[in-house]
Symmetry: C2
Subunit: 702 residues, 2 copies
């Protein structure tokens, strides 16, 4: 357990019974809480005295009982100012400050005498509140049929949104006015395999917004535990957003008992976008670390047998058809295709490469039986998570990896059959322990079983959290793909080191891909909840390298791929391309070799959602700094002051830059590498190509 | 694997393309298969040339695809006569004959070219058929939305029925004409905690019927694997029954892929009720044993800490309230009630008693945490199946039991949270293995989680079968309560030695109970599918013994309780009453001590559903015979010829009989024990009291 220093704990004051004003420590943010004439709890948010959220109701509808939405009176109010700093096991910074003003409002529902508390925590960069269901309620077990939390905004802001899909977040962002949010107008031929969009006017959170007068607003949630994910229904005429909880097969949203709490509903607001992108509010709103011994939780830079399947060089399944019946595999002998990726021989090749360049791990997908029949069948018993294909000698591989000082990363694709995965979970983890795999990448491609559940429902939220907990029993780290997007639970279970849960780099290999602005938006949305396994590092950018008929490509330059290792914080980072492609560009590859994954400090120098992002980070263990800068489709010039460097010290800066003629579309592989001696007084002028980036390492010169 | 002798395998003949007559080996039963003008497959059944089933359609509705109900043509027909004998691991007889005539009809659906096979197996005591979905269908993965199998009977027979409840079979039987089947007329104040009856005119199978001209008819199913349970919709005016498959939350019935098969639909018919009650057809229709080493599968006679909770002497939960919140247990320290049954001390008392009287096992319920909060809450994470209450020292108990030569029987109540049980299953079984528990009683009281599933749906059928398979990995035997009623799967997984899955003896302790005819009907219904853990042996029959305000009682005499050990075949039998109650009647108790649970042979001497049953069985390992005779509420006189005994040998018969004045209501505890010397030429005259019985042991006199 990391030590936690509480520096300030004052002002436990019981105050009056009516409209409450609550301020952020800086006083920039004010929240006004009140009960309206119907007895509905309402709140408003102001930033520097400007309204950000107009009066918005709060509350929940309860199945077969009185709704907790109306007829309330304030019984008492309790205020608290709090500040602590705590040390994450892995993170963007070694110490995190958690400073807020808190107000707990005790509500009583007249007639029913049901109790409901609403707790506000006001941070300098935003507002969080949640519902508390006290023990002494008349209804001890209850079913939430709806949550009625409103976010009534003041104007027709610009929004970065993806559709409210209960099964997937793997969309590129739409940038429109709130009034133009409309799921019926999206091009759905976007490579997303399973879509569950049930409303035209529903978006997902984190929802990033920008007002015409320069306010950055972000609506999200934190600490989603035993509760479904919140999407947002949009009133496009009145700029109002209302919580939409993901249902189960019966239409129920959440099964709760008292005492319990809802997740935190968050609204960040600032006139500086960097306040949003650097915020640790979501993490702070989660419970502290529950794992006592965290010595085994370590960052992992890895390569893997994975991209070669995406580009069509090899197959996940042994038989190559992904159809058990065609392959004759389900009912007879398996016929190898000759293109199977996860062979002992190929794995050793990757292990050798990992060992040579100091990677921590090697991921191998398609190593186990089941891939013949895994996709799109809604089949319950696809995988047993323990049986290797005949050409994958797990014992030999794990011995070989150990002899080379490389760790293997397990892969557990579930094809959405969660019921089956849970049956095998202990066996899967035991196998990992037996063969020394410290981490597992899990996958949830396909419709969920138990049938009727969605990826984002309470059952699945519980599943993902459960897997992290169970993995901790075995000292195994989790990297979940096609999972619920994280909401900071990795503070509580730091072995849950990464998730995909957004549109990753892989979409560039076989769909219309990720537009060049994609990675400038993710830090304002998906990454607020936790690290993403985005799988950057693609050097062979155009897919026609593999197949001349293909037109797909990564929407990037090589320099931008390098910059992503800094701009997209994750303690688990893949170098996703093939070893042979790195061999062709070992000079550029050196940045991936050098970049650390765990940081003492991070400074967001420049940030504008959809436009650009520049961040510099200091290695947790050395005096090295690493800078990443990216742009969208537009070229960009900027000048970076290096005043973050230690005064009076000299550094060697190695700049991995776009080539002069670089362009994500026409010339993505053009790059240049320059070294310079710099100090804290230096400025660096950077020129980013269209869809380009820059990556810089700073090393102390003794 | 028991050896299987196939004695006859002839007549693989391809015959014509239209109406087919198929006969039982005895020729008593004839089935006529045809395709009607709509291309619907139909069948009729005749018994001794008398119509039993009028033309009835067959087929299935498929979701999002052409229904497999119509437009069929016969492509080919294949006939086969088959006979084998096989040896069950445990059973009513040591060798079972499996003799039938089989016809497989290959159907093609015009236009779609979908294939469907219908396979008939005609036994001397009945008809079985099932659907086969061949590999080469156009639709490989498909969802059954309905099964349209009809059983159109000829007349308004008398029926022994319970309502078509998707979650429970724990009903007393109604005996009415088919025309009077009506779920709205049942008294539902019957102690059944969870009822899911969605149609007024739906009953469960096994459905026992009797025609006015003396035919006994039974509609059931066999080998329900990866398919929901079949209930029967009733057309009360036309005496037609149609399959009603139990749905999931989405209304879907079964998710299948080709090649696969449906369960067998069975209709037994005879003019002698004994042919039904002694039939091994259901077992024969299941796949052979899949467990290689069966040496660990053994019968178990057991006592347990269980009835004392039912009669109110002690509690399952440590805190005594079955409410975690009232007890303060969920959020603080557990406060013992002082009435907790599963204490180390109490368990040792039971172990001592078991050891003294040669019982194999001791069941202890309420040993583990979770019971504070288990009932009726639809709560997912009630039990972890591994954490004992503080007053249950599992290590000491298991050592003590071992020292006394007694085995402990585990108890895993799930409260219906199957999702959670599957997560902990390996850990639960590992605990059993660690502490030497060879068997587990599982429980499923409450609404199922995954939410929206019913006890009788495909998901739960798969769960129960999965638990048996997983248990076999650990060499553990399963006794499932509140489970799907068995359909012979214990042939395939003989470690699935018993189930409750009907209204057991416990209902007598706290509800209107089981009427005296109940145990005369069960062998014609529930027991056809497999052994039942009925928990007989209650000597202290009236509940006012424990609480003078109580009026509940077991609807029995003591002699009938003894007879049940013979009439209700099970390799797992409880002596359900308290040790102190047996101490008061050690002479009668001797029958329970003596009666074996595994048999060389069983002869049903007399049988009439709802009236009486007399069966005699020979011990598998000795020359001893045991006879059980029971009656309904009416007294009964009968004379039994002992010609089953070995000719020329002398036997000592010990008769446990109703006392002269015995009566289930007014004088249930009156019994007499008589010993006699008998031979195969003897007749025994028996007089059964109202609601009474007789139990007899025959021992060879050297």
């Amino acid at each position: 357990m990391k030590k936690t220093i509480v520096t300030l704990l004052i002002c436990l004051i019981f105050t009056g019974l009516h409209a409450q004003n609550i301020f952020s420590p800086s006083k920039n943010i004010k929240v006004t809480f009140d009960i309206n004439k119907k007895g509905q709890p309402t709140y408003q948010v102001f930033y520097k005295n400007k309204a950000v959220v107009l009066p918005s109701t709060m509350g929940l509808s309860i199945k077969d009982a009185e709704d907790l939405t109306h007829n309330f009176e304030v019984v008492n109010t309790e205020n608290l100012s709090f500040s602590e700093s705590w040390q994450p096991v892995l993170g963007e910074q070694s110490s995190i400050l958690n400073t807020y003003n808190q107000t707990r409002i005790y509500l009583n529902q007249k007639e029913t005498n049901n109790k409901l508390n609403i707790v506000f925590k006001i941070y300098d960069e935003g507002v969080a509140f949640r519902y508390e269901f006290p023990l002494d309620n008349t209804v001890n077990y209850f079913t939430v049929s709806n949550e009625n939390t409103q976010f009534n905004l003041t104007n027709n802001h610009e929004a970065f949104w993806i559709p409210g899909d209960y099964d997937s977040q793997e969309y590129a962002y739409n940038k429109t006015k709130i009034s133009d949010i409309d799921n019926s107008k999206i091009d759905l031929n976007n490579g997303v395999g399973l879509k569950s969009i049930t409303s035209q006017y529903r978006v997902q959170s984190p929802l990033m917004l920008k007002s015409s007068d320069g306010l950055y607003i972000n609506i999200f949630e934190a600490a989603v535990v035993n509760y479904p994910i919140m999407h947002l229904d949009v009133d496009v005429n009145n700029f109002q957003f209302t919580s939409n909880l993901v249902p189960n097969a019966l239409g129920d949203k959440a099964y709760l008992r008292t005492p319990s709490v809802s997740p935190w509903r968050t609204l960040m607001v600032s006139d500086d976008a960097r306040d949003i992108v650097s915020s640790k509010m979501i993490l702070n709103l989660n419970e502290p670390n529950k794992i006592e011994d965290t010595s085994w939780i370590k960052p992992m830079k890895y390569i893997g047998i994975w991209w070669e399947m995406h580009v069509g060089l090899s197959t996940w399944d042994y038989a190559g058809s992904q159809n058990a019946q065609n392959a004759g595999t389900a009912f007879g002998e398996m016929i190898p295709s000759g293109k199977h990726g996860a062979t002992t021989e190929n794995t050793k090749k990757y292990i050798d490469f990992a060992a040579k360049y100091g990677f921590d791990g090697v991921l191998v997908e398609g190593w186990n039986t089941g891939w013949e029949d895994w996709y799109g069948k809604w089949k319950e018993d696809v995988f047993d998570f323990t049986t290797p294909y005949p050409d994958f000698d797990i014992e030999e591989i794990s011995k070989y990896a150990k002899s080379k000082g490389v760790k293997m990363i397990m892969h557990n694709e579930t094809s959405g059959s969660v019921a089956n995965y849970e049956r095998y979970l202990d066996r899967a983890f035991t196998l990992m322990q037996t063969y020394g795999y410290p981490a597992v990448k899990t996958g949830y491609v396909g419709k969920i079983i138990p049938r009727g559940e969605f990826h984002d429902g309470q059952t699945m939220v519980n599943h993902f959290n459960f897997v992290a907990q169970r993995a901790a029993d075995f000292k195994i780290m989790i990297n979940s793909h096609e999972s619920v997007r994280p909401t900071g639970y990795h503070r509580t279970y730091p072995n849950y080191i990464a998730a995909e849960a957004a549109r990753g780099n892989e979409f560039n290999a076989w769909s219309n891909g990720n537009p060049p602005d994609h990675e400038t938006i993710l830090p304002f949305t998906r990454l607020l909840g936790g690290p993403m396994d985005y799988t950057p590092g693609i050097f062979e950018i155009k897919m026609n390298t593999y197949d001349s008929t293909k037109t797909e490509q990564v929407h990037t330059t090589i320099a931008k791929q390098l910059a992503l290792y800094v701009t997209m914080y994750s303690p688990l980072q893949m170098a996703a391309d093939l070893p042979e492609n790195y061999q062709k560009h070992l000079d550029a590859f050196q940045f991936i070799v050098d970049v650390p994954l765990d940081w003492q400090n991070s400074i967001y120098l420049e940030a504008e959602p959809g436009e650009y992002l520049t961040v510099v980070r200091k290695d947790k263990n050395t005096e090295r700094w690493f800078l990443g800068a990216i742009t969208n489709k537009d070229p960009r010039k900027t000048s970076i002051s290096l005043d973050f460097l230690t005064t009076g010290k000299k550094y060697k800066a190695t700049l991995y830059l776009d080539g002069k003629d670089a362009d994500w579309k026409d010339n993505p592989k053009s790059y240049q590498i320059i070294t310079k001696e710099v100090t804290s007084k230096s400025d660096l002028k950077l020129k980013l190509a269209p869809g380009g980036g820059a990556a810089i390492s700073f090393e102390l010169i003794d």
